[in-house]
Amino acid sequence: MNSEWLADFWHYRELLYFLAWRDVKVRYKQAALGASWAIIQPLFTMIIFTLFFGRVAGVPSDGLPYPLFSFCALVPWTYFSTTLSQAGNSLISNAPLVTKVYFPRALLPAASVLSGLVDFLVGASFLALMMMYYRIKPGWSLFFAPFFIAGMVLLSFSVSMFLAALNVRYRDVKYALPFIIQMWLFITPIIYPANFLPARMKPFLAFNPMAGLLEGFRWSLFTTRRLDWGLLGSSVAITVLLLIIGAIYFRKTERTFADIV
C-alpha cells in the first residue's frame, strides 16, 4: 500500500513539476520587483537584526561580520518560513483542484516546497556576493552545503504535510501558522550562534531540527566554524521522525480532503 502511494507519486512527477512551475511563474508575474523580493526580505531583516542585535544588544557572531553571520542563516530561514506558510495552506488554496481532479494530494505541499527553492537560489547568490565583498572564502566543507539544504527541504515537506492536512479540518492552523513561525525564528540560532546559549539551555536546542541544519549550513560556508555533530545528529533524526509522522497523518486523512476542504 505504501509502495503504491509512492509509485503514484512518481507517476505524477510531471504534474509536481508543473504545479511548482505555476507557483514560481505566478509569484513573479505581477510583482514589479520580481525575483528581487527573494533578496529584499532577508536583506532588510538582516539590516534590522544587525542594528538591534549586532550593534545595540551586542550579540556575538563568532568573529564573523554580524551582517554576514545573520544573512547566511536568514536565506535558508526565509525559505523555510515562506514554504511552511505556503505549503501549509496549499490544500486550501487549491481547493477547486482537490475537489475536481484526482492526483496524489501530497503533490500540493511538495510543489510549494520545490517552488520556494527558486527564491532560495536567488537569495543564496546574493549571499555569495556578500561573501566576496567581505573577502571570505569557503573551504572544502562547501561541498556539504547541498546536504543541509536537502535536509531543510525534507523538513519543510514533513512539517507542511502535517500542517496542510490539519488545516483542511481545522482552519485554526491558518491563523496559528504566522505565530508559530515567529516563535520558531527566536528559538533557532539565527540571530545568535548556538554556543551563545547558556549550557543548561543547550539540550533544548536539540529538539529543534532547524537548529542543527542551520548551524551545519553555516559550518559549510565558513572555515572558522566547528560542526556540532550531536546537534546535527538529533536534527536529522527528528527530521526523519517528522517525515514519517507527517506522511502517516497525511495518508490517514487525505481520503477525506475532497469532502471537507
Partner: protein, 427 residues
C-alpha cells in the same frame, strides 16, 4: 466484450456536522467538554449520497446518467474519478481514465493561454510531450490563436470555456467521465462538445456522462442510468429511462404557472394575467409536452374593471432569448367588445407544436384601445418541450437541429440505370 467499469455495492455517507467549511478546533473541544462520551454522529446528520449502487459498463458503451439535483450523480462521478472515497463497496475502472467534472480546472488567471494549456493538460493527466504535440490542434479547436500569449484573465468567459474544453477534447482516454459540461456555454460551444462526444463514441471509447439535457443523452448514449436518492432507479435504453424519469418530473410540477404574485410587470392593470396552464385538446392537464403534440395553452386573467376591446397576446422566446413568435387575438381579428370584471381565460389551441426539444419562455401581454398596455409580464412561464419521434422513423430531432421543424415528406429521385435514357427517373 471487456469491462470498463465495475461498481459493486457502492455507498457513500456524509456526516453533515463535519462538513462545514470552517471547522474550528474550538467547537470540537467544546463539544468534547460538554458531552465527552456521546458519539458524534447521530442518525439525523447522516446523509447517504450513494447507497448500494451496483452496475457494470462494457468497454465502448456510452452511458448517460440522469436524475434530479442532489440525487448523487456528481458524487458517483467523483468516486469513479478517485476524488472522493466510498464509505463501502468497490469500484474498478480499467484503462486510462480522464474525468472532466469542470471545464478548465486549475486555470490560473495570471498565466497565458499557452501556459494554461500545459498546466491544464498536465492536471488532466497528459504528458508534456503529448500536450506539445497536440498544441496546434488544441489552439485551433479553441480558436484562440491570436490570444495564445495573453493572460487568460483577459479572456472572455466563452474563450475560457472553449480553451478548457479544447484541452479536454484532446485527452484521448479509454474511459471518459464527464459532468454536465453541456450546461454552460453558448449554442456553438455546446454543439462542439456534442460533436466531440460523438467522435469519442464512434471511436469506441467508454463514456460516462451526467447531463440534464435529455435530448443529448438520448442522442449520444447507448444506455442510460437514472439515479434517485443515491440509488439506481432504472437502468436501460435511454428512451425508456428518460420517459420514466420525465413522467415523475411532470407529476411533481405545478399544474399551473401562477402569475398573481409576479410583481415585475408593466401596464395600467385594469386587467392582468393570473396563470398559464398546459392542457390536452380535451382539457386534461398535460404532464409532458412533446414535439409535434397537439396542445391547448390556457391563459387565465382577472379584470378589476370592465375592459373594452382588449387583445390578448404572447411572445415566445428560446432559451437564448431569440424571439420565435409574437401573436395575439388581434392578429386573428377577434374582437372582444367587453370583458366584465372577474376571472376568465383565453385558450390558445395549437394543433401541431412544431418546436424542437428545448426550454422556451412565454412573455404575455394585453393591450386595448383605451390603454397602450394593460398588462405585460416578461418571461413568466416556461414551456419544456421534450423529444418525440416526430417523423415516426424512430430517429430523433433534438435542439441541435434548430428551433422548429415542419410537417414534411421527402421524395428521392435517383438517376436512371445506364442506357435507360437520360431523363431522371420518376417513381
Amino acid at each position: 466484450m471487456s469491462q470498463a467499469i465495475a461498481v459493486e455495492k457502492l455507498s457513500k455517507r456524509f456526516v453533515l456536522g463535519t462538513l462545514q467549511r470552517d471547522t474550528m478546533l474550538r467547537e470540537r473541544l467544546i463539544s468534547l467538554l460538554r458531552a465527552p462520551f456521546r458519539g458524534r454522529s447521530t442518525s439525523s446528520n447522516i446523509l447517504w449520497a450513494l447507497r448500494d449502487v451496483s452496475f457494470r459498463v462494457d468497454a465502448g458503451e456510452v452511458v448517460g446518467i440522469i436524475g434530479r439535483n442532489g440525487a448523487g450523480k456528481s458524487t458517483l462521478l467523483k468516486v469513479l474519478s478517485k476524488i472522493t472515497y466510498p464509505t463501502s463497496g468497490t469500484v474498478r475502472v480499467g484503462g486510462r481514465v480522464a474525468s472532466l467534472l469542470e471545464v478548465g480546472t486549475g486555470f490560473h488567471e495570471e498565466l497565458t493561454g499557452r501556459e494554461n494549456i500545459y498546466l491544464n493538460g498536465s492536471i488532466l493527466g497528459m504528458k508534456h510531450g503529448e500536450v506539445a504535440a497536440k498544441l496546434d490542434s488544441i489552439v485551433d479547436f479553441a480558436g484562440v490563436a491570436r490570444f495564445l500569449d495573453t493572460p487568460i484573465k483577459r479572456y472572455s468567459t466563452g474563450m475560457r470555456l472553449r480553451l478548457g474544453f479544447a484541452v479536454a477534447a484532446h485527452l484521448d482516454p479509454d474511459v471518459l467521465i464527464v459532468d454536465e459540461v453541456l450546461a454552460v456555454g453558448d449554442a456553438g460551444f455546446q454543439r462542439k462538445c456534442l460533436n466531440t462526444m460523438e467522435g469519442l463514441r464512434t471511436g469506441g471509447r467508454t463514456v460516462l456522462f451526467v447531463s440534464h439535457n435529455m435530448a443529448a443523452v438520448e442522442n449520444l448514449c447507448s444506455r442510460c442510468i437514472w439515479i434517485d436518492a443515491g440509488q439506481v432507479c432504472m437502468d436501460g435504453s435511454p428512451r425508456e429511462v428518460i420517459e420514466a424519469y420525465m413522467n415523475t418530473f411532470a407529476n411533481a410540477r405545478e399544474a399551473m404557472a401562477d402569475l398573481r404574485s409576479v410583481e415585475n410587470r408593466r401596464g395600467s392593470g385594469e386587467i392582468r394575467y393570473t396563470g398559464v396552464e398546459y392542457l390536452t385538446p380535451t382539457g386534461e392537464p398535460l404532464q409532458v409536452v412533446r414535439s409535434g403534440d397537439p396542445l391547448n395553452i390556457r391563459f387565465h386573467y382577472h379584470a378589476n374593471k370592465p375592459v373594452a376591446f382588449p387583445s390578448f397576446g404572447f411572445r415566445l422566446y428560446t432559451d437564448f432569448g431569440t424571439l420565435i413568435t409574437d401573436t395575439s387575438t388581434w392578429h386573428h381579428a377577434i374582437d372582444i367588445p367587453l370583458i366584465p370584471p372577474g376571472d376568465g381565460y383565453v385558450d390558445l389551441h395549437i394543433d401541431f407544436l412544431n418546436l424542437l426539444p428545448a426550454r422556451y419562455y412565454f412573455s404575455l401581454w394585453i393591450t386595448g384601445p383605451a390603454s397602450p398596455v394593460y398588462d405585460n409580464v416578461e418571461h413568466c412561464a416556461e414551456l419544456d418541450v421534450e423529444l418525440a419521434n416526430v417523423y415516426s422513423s424512430g430517429r430523433m430531432l433534438d435542439s441541435r437541429s434548430g428551433i422548429v421543424f415542419f410537417p414534411q415528406h421527402w421524395t428521392v429521385h435517383e438517376p436512371s440505370l445506364v442506357g435507360a435514357g437520360s431523363k431522371a427517373g420518376e417513381k
